[in-house]
Structure formats: structure tokens, C-alpha cells
Symmetry: C2
Subunit: 93 residues, 2 copies
Amino acid sequence: MIRLLADPLRAQIIALLADGPACTCHLVEDTGAKQPNISNHLRLLRDAGLVVAEPHGRFTYYRLVPEALETAAGHLTDLARRARARSDAPRKC
Amino acid sequence: MIRLLADPLRAQIIALLADGPACTCHLVEDTGAKQPNISNHLRLLRDAGLVVAEPHGRFTYYRLVPEALETAAGHLTDLARRARARSDAPRKC
DNA sequence: ATTTGATATCAGCACGAGATGATGTAATCA
DNA sequence: TGATTACATCATCTCGTGCTGATATCAAAT
């Protein structure tokens, strides 16, 4: 799921959504990317549970799911913790 | 830098290194990937400061840098925190 | 000194992911 | 109803990135 955070445009979308829910047109305007492109990325983020879509009339608001980001963060923190704990246990060749 | 954690093979390398420092041959053996491939990935991880190389004779031990992972984790946690704080401030269309 | 083994580097290729244009759908407004 | 707006989906193309084979380097072993 961290894989999704790698793409620059997706990272920008997530950063924008961190400032509060926004609809597709906002993201298109702010990023300068074409609308189908944004929609494609939003679909991936939605499928991964990183964002949720909230239809409001003909607008679709997208909202970040903090828990998903925290799960990813926890994964990285755990790797760091394990690395520290086993830092003095190199494998033998 | 999170970009580097996206690739599956690099993620596997990092997971292996979280169990303690290991040399290239270990990673080649454990992942089943070809040696030049592993070396290429290690180079990228090294350039990004995610791992450090420690030459021991003709072996090269690689060690995870926990601080780098924690920095990435902190970035994600911060995004989650901001998203929570501004969750009820949707932009107007 | 020669060989062997571990690793790094380089050039070329192949494949997949992102970008785009065209089109479809649904909701609002005239 | 027809027109317009916001968004989603589809087909296609391009281009970057990872993978590989060949080769170079350097250290230990013989």
C-alpha cells in the first residue's frame, strides 16, 4: 500500500487532501493534471482504502483516511524498531 | 524517499535487513534475485541513506538506518494528524 | 602470481504504470 | 426537454524503471 504513496502526483493529491476534503475539480485545478488522470489516481487510492469518496450532487468529495496512513507509518516504525534491536546481530557468511 | 520503499524487491531487502545486518550474498540467496539486480537496488538505498555499506574483506555488509525509516514514518503520521484536524473543513466548489 | 570468490558497474532490453484523448454517465440548470 | 457541468471509464501510447548478461574490480586463498 506504501506503493501508492510513491507516485509524485498521488503524493501531491494526498498532501492536498491533508488540508481537508476536496472534490475532483479542486485537485485538477491545484495539480494542473488532466481530469482523467486525477480520476484514475483517485480510483487507485480509493481501492486501497487511503481515501473515501463522498458524492454531493454532481460533485464528489474525497477525504483522507488517517488510519490508513497511520497503519503505513506503524509498519515503517516497526521495521526501524526491529533493525535497532538486531543491529548487533550480523549474519555469518 | 518513500518512493524507494515501493518496489517489492527493495521492500523485501529492507525486511531482510530488519533482522540484522547482512551481506549481498545473503540477500541474493534469500530473494532469489540475480546479484547485479540486488547490487543496483542496494546502490539506490545507499544513495538515499536508507542503508549503509560496511566492507569486511571481500564481503560487504549492509545495515538498515532506523532514523531514515522513522523520518518517513513521521511524515506519514504528520499527514494523518493534519487530515484529522481539518477533517471538517471541506473546500467550497 | 594465479585463481577463485564477492561485489560493483555498464549497456541493452522488456514490460508496466502513468498520461492523454475520446467517450459515457449522471446531476443540475436553462 | 435540451444543455451544461462534474466526474468516471476506456483504448492507446509513451517512457521510465527494473531485470539481465557481460565485464570490471578487489580481496582472500592456493
